[in-house]
C-alpha cells in the first residue's frame, strides 16, 4: 500500500536523523584513547593539565588523553554513574581523600600495588600513600596534597595596628573585633560553612584544635564531646557577634575565595589555590596582600597538648577497575605524578615528592616560581598537623548527617549539643548496618 511505504519512509528518515544528529563521530582505530576525570577547583588549572596531557601524548603517540573537568561537587556522582557503564565512562578519576573506602567497597578501584615502584614509595610522602592504601593494598597514585591553610590580609591587619597574626582562635576573635570596630571590614572572617563537605572540613580544623576528635579509640563518634560542642558553639558565637560573615552559612570554598579576593574579609581559611589566585590580578583585588600563618588552635587545645590543627584534603588519581586500558592509564598517571612535571607546575600545586623538600631540591623548588618561597614553608609547617576524616565506606551519609547538625546549630534551629548528639546517633546507626 502506498501509505505503508510512506510510513516506512518516514521511519527511515527518522532513524537517519537520529543517526546523524545523535552519534558523535566514531573513534578511528589506532591510538588508544583514555578518559580522565578531574577536578577544576583546587590543584592545577585545566589549561595546565591540558598542557601536561599534550606533552604526554607527544611522548606516547599511541595514547590519546581525553581530560574532563568538573567542579568538586559533581565528581562523586559522575564516578558512580560512570562506573555503571561498561566499558566505564572514565579510565581514571581523581578521588578525594574521603572516598577510597566507599569506592573500594563498591569495587570501583583497580589494585595497583604491583605497579608502584619502590622509588615512588620512598620518594613520595608517606602520608600521601596512606590516603590510597587499605589493608596493605594500594589503589591510587598520589596527586595533590592539600590542607586547609589560614590566610589573612596583611594590609588590613596593618591598618588595624595588629603586628602579628593570631595564634589562638581566641586571639583571632580579638583581632577581628578590632578590625570590625575600626571599620576596616564589616565581617572580618569568612568560612565555607554551607551544607556540603566544606563545613565538615572547617569543623574538623576547629574540633581537633580544641583537643577533640571525630571518633574515639574504639571507633565510636566523639565529636559530641565537650570539645566538639564547644567548637560548634564558638562557630555560632562568631556569627552572632558579627565577626564571621553570615553568608558563610551558604558559602563554599570558591565563595570564600571570592569574598577574600574582593577584599571584604581579613581572615579566610581555605585550600592552597586561594593563595595563588589572590595574586592573579584578573581575579583578585588584593594582589600581594595575602599571607599565611599557622592555623590557630584553641587555648583548651594547647592545654591538651595540641600543637597545630588542620584537615587533610588531598586527592589522588585512581584507575577504574573495569577499564580496558589499565597499562596506558597507569603510564599517564605515572607521568602526571612524576617529579619533573610536579616541579614544573609547583606554583599551583606543591609536589608530592618529599625528596623535593630536602636539601638542594628544596632550594630548586623554592626558586621555581615567585610564590613558592611562601607556600613551601607554609606547607611544611601545616601539613604535619593535618587530621583525617573517618575512613568508613558510608562516609558520605555520615558526613551528610554531621553537615546537617552543624547547619542546624549555626542557623539556630537546634542547640549545638542536641544537633551533635543526633548526628552521633546517626553515625552509630550507620556503623551498625
Amino acid at each position: 500500500m502506498r501509505s505503508l511505504h510512506k510510513i516506512s519512509l518516514l521511519l527511515l528518515a527518522l532513524l537517519f536523523i537520529i543517526g546523524t544528529v545523535g552519534c558523535a563521530p566514531q573513534q578511528a582505530s589506532g591510538p588508544v584513547t583514555i578518559h580522565v576525570l578531574t577536578m577544576d577547583q583546587a590543584g592545577l588549572k585545566p589549561a595546565e593539565i591540558d598542557e601536561i596531557a599534550r606533552e604526554f601524548e607527544a611522548k606516547n603517540p599511541d595514547i590519546k588523553v581525553n581530560m574532563e573537568y568538573l567542579g568538586y561537587d559533581f565528581i562523586h556522582d559522575k564516578i558512580t554513574t560512570g562506573m555503571a557503564a561498561n566499558p566505564p565512562a572514565y579510565d581514571a578519576v581523581m578521588i578525594d581523600v574521603i572516598w577510597p573506602d566507599e569506592f573500594i567497597k563498591a569495587g570501583y578501584l583497580l589494585d595497583v600495588t604491583d605497579r608502584v615502584t619502590p622509588e615512588m614509595k620512598s620518594g613520595m610522602f608517606p602520608a600521601s600513600w596512606n590516603g590510597v592504601t587499605r589493608n596493605g593494598k594500594i589503589y591510587g597514585m598520589p596527586w595533590l596534597m592539600d590542607v586547609k591553610y589560614f590566610m589573612y590580609n596583611k594590609d588590613m591587619l596593618e591598618k588595624a595596628g595588629i603586628t602579628d597574626p593570631p595564634k589562638t582562635w581566641e586571639e583571632l576573635v580579638e583581632q577581628a573585633q578590632a578590625i570590625k570596630d575600626q571599620g576596616i571590614a564589616e565581617f572580618p572572617i569568612i568560612w565555607s560553612w554551607n551544607q556540603k563537605e566544606g563545613v565538615v572540613c572547617d569543623y574538623a580544623v576547629l574540633l581537633y584544635g580544641n583537643g577533640g576528635s571525630f571518633v574515639d579509640a574504639s571507633g565510636k563518634p566523639a565529636f559530641n564531646s565537650e570539645q566538639g560542642i564547644q567548637a560548634l558553639e564558638w562557630m555560632k558565637q562568631t556569627l552572632d557577634d558579627g565577626l564571621s560573615n553570615p553568608s558563610s552559612v551558604s558559602a563554599d570554598e570558591p565563595a570564600v575565595e571570592a569574598d577574600f579576593l574582593a577584599g571584604k574579609s581579613a581572615f579566610a581559611v581555605n585550600w592552597l589555590f586561594q593563595y595563588s589566585d589572590s595574586n592573579d590580578a584578573s581575579k583578585s583585588q588584593i594582589v600581594g596582600q595575602a599571607a599565611f600563618a599557622p592555623m590557630p588552635v584553641f587555648q583548651a587545645g594547647i592545654d591538651a597538648g595540641v600543637k597545630g590543627s588542620s584537615v587533610d584534603g588531598s586527592s589522588s588519581f585512581a584507575i577504574m577497575a573495569t577499564t580496558p586500558y589499565p597499562d596506558q592509564t597507569w603510564k599517564f598517571l605515572t607521568y602526571l605524578a612524576s617529579n619533573e612535571v610536579q616541579m614544573k607546575y609547583s606554583k599551583e600545586m606543591l609536589p608530592v615528592w618529599q625528596t623535593d623538600f630536602e636539601g638542594d631540591a628544596l632550594k630548586t623548588l623554592e626558586a621555581a616560581n615567585p610564590t613558592n618561597p611562601v607556600t613551601v614553608p607554609a606547607f611544611l609547617a601545616q601539613f604535619p598537623y593535618a587530621n583525617e576524616r573517618p575512613t568508613v565506606p558510608y562516609y558520605n551519609e555520615a558526613s551528610a548527617a554531621l553537615q546537617l547538625a552543624i547547619q542546624e546549630a549555626l542557623t539556630g534551629v537546634k542547640s549545638p549539643k542536641d544537633a551533635l548528639d543526633e548526628a552521633a546517633a546517626k553515625w552509630i546507626e550507620l556503623a551498625g548496618k
Binding site: 501509505s3 537520529i18 544528529v21 545523535g22 552519534c23 581525553n66 561537587d73 554513574t81 563554599d252 581575579k283
Partner: protein, 285 residues
C-alpha cells in the same frame, strides 16, 4: 469618555505597572549583570547600571581562547548541543506523535481509552524514577555522553506530552471534513495526511513549540547522562558556573541570557500558538 471611565482606565493602567516591574526587574538585572565587569558586579552600594559596561563576557563565550576559565570556552558548544537535541526531539515527537494522536482520536479500537489514560499517567512519573534503569541501558549500548542518549531519554516525557497535546487538536478538526474525504475514497492514512494535518498546522506548531521548550529546559537527565563537550547541554553548563566559578558571576549571567534567548524567541514568535495550545488543553480537560 466619561470621567468615571477615564478614571477606571487610568486605574487599570496603574495596576499593570507593578506587574511589569515584577516581570522585568529580574530580567533587566540579569542583563545588567551580564554587561558588567567584576568591579561593577561586586560593588556596594549596588550599581544598577554598570559604570563600565562591557561586552567582554559575551566575547568570552563566542570567542573562547582568551577566556580565563574553561566554562565560557565551552559554553558555545553547549548551546549548539542544546539546539541540536531540542530540535531532534521536537521533530521526532511531532512525526510519530501525530500518527499516534490521530489513531487515538479517530480510530475506535479496543485499547484506545486505556492507552490515552496511560499516556496522561506518564506525566505523573518523576524523571528520577526512570534515570537509573535508563542509565544502565544507555551504558550497555555505549550511548553515554552522546547526544542521542538525551534525544531518546527526553522522549520519555516529551512524546506523551506531544501526543496529549495533539489529541486535543485533532479532536477539534470537524469530522465532516474527514467524512467528506472518506466519501471521496481516501483511506485512513490519506485522511490523516491530506485533511487532518494541513488543518491542524496551528496545533502542530503549538505542540512543536511546547516540546522544544521542554527539551531545552531539561536539566536532570542532562546532568546525569552527559558531561563531556560532545553532549553537554546549556542547563548543565549554567549549573557548572554556580559554585565552581563564584567569582565569574558576570560570565554566568551572560551565559544565562544566551541560554534564554532561543526559547524566549521561539515563544515570542509563536506566541499566538501558546494561547491556543493552552485553550486546547483546557477544553480537553
Amino acid at each position: 469618555m466619561s470621567l468615571r471611565k477615564l478614571f477606571r482606565k487610568v486605574l487599570l493602567f496603574l495596576l499593570t505597572l507593578p506587574v511589569f516591574f515584577f516581570i522585568f526587574f529580574p530580567l533587566l538585572w540579569l542583563l545588567s549583570a551580564s554587561l558588567s565587569n567584576q568591579v561593577d558586579l561586586f560593588s556596594v552600594p549596588i550599581h544598577w547600571i554598570p559604570q563600565h559596561p562591557t561586552i567582554q563576557n559575551y566575547m568570552d563565550i563566542f570567542f573562547p581562547g582568551q577566556a580565563a576559565s574553561s566554562v565560557p570556552r565551552t559554553f558555545a558548544v553547549a548551546l549548539l548541543n542544546s539546539f541540536k537535541i531540542a530540535s531532534a526531539v521536537t521533530v521526532i515527537c511531532l512525526f510519530i506523535g501525530s500518527l499516534a494522536a490521530y489513531a487515538l482520536v479517530r480510530i475506535p479500537f479496543r485499547f484506545n481509552h486505556s492507552m490515552q489514560l496511560g499516556i496522561i499517567a506518564t506525566r505523573m512519573i518523576p524523571e528520577i524514577s526512570l534515570v537509573l534503569p535508563l542509565f544502565i541501558i544507555a551504558a550497555r549500548l555505549q550511548l553515554i555522553n552522546r547526544p542521542v542518549v538525551l534525544i531518546l531519554t527526553y522522549m520519555s516525557f516529551a512524546l506523551p506530552y506531544a501526543i496529549w497535546l495533539m489529541t486535543a487538536y485533532f479532536q477539534t478538526v470537524p469530522i465532516e471534513l474527514e467524512d467528506a474525504a472518506r466519501l471521496d475514497g481516501c483511506s485512513r492514512l490519506g485522511i490523516l495526511f491530506r485533511v487532518v494535518i494541513p488543518i491542524s498546522v496551528p496545533g502542530l506548531v503549538s505542540t512543536a513549540m511546547f516540546v522544544f521548550l521542554l527539551a531545552w529546559d531539561e536539566f536532570f537527565y542532562a546532568l546525569i547522562f552527559t558531561s563531556t563537550l560532545a553532549a553537554k547541554t546549556v542547563p548543565v553548563a549554567i549549573a557548572e558556573f554556580v559554585g565552581r566559578y563564584a567569582v565569574n558571576v558576570n560570565g554566568m549571567m551572560a551565559g544565562g541570557i544566551l541560554a534564554a534567548i532561543p526559547p524566549v524567541l521561539v515563544a515570542l514568535i509563536f506566541q499566538r500558538y501558546i494561547v491556543s495550545g493552552m485553550t486546547a488543553g483546557a477544553v480537553k480537560g
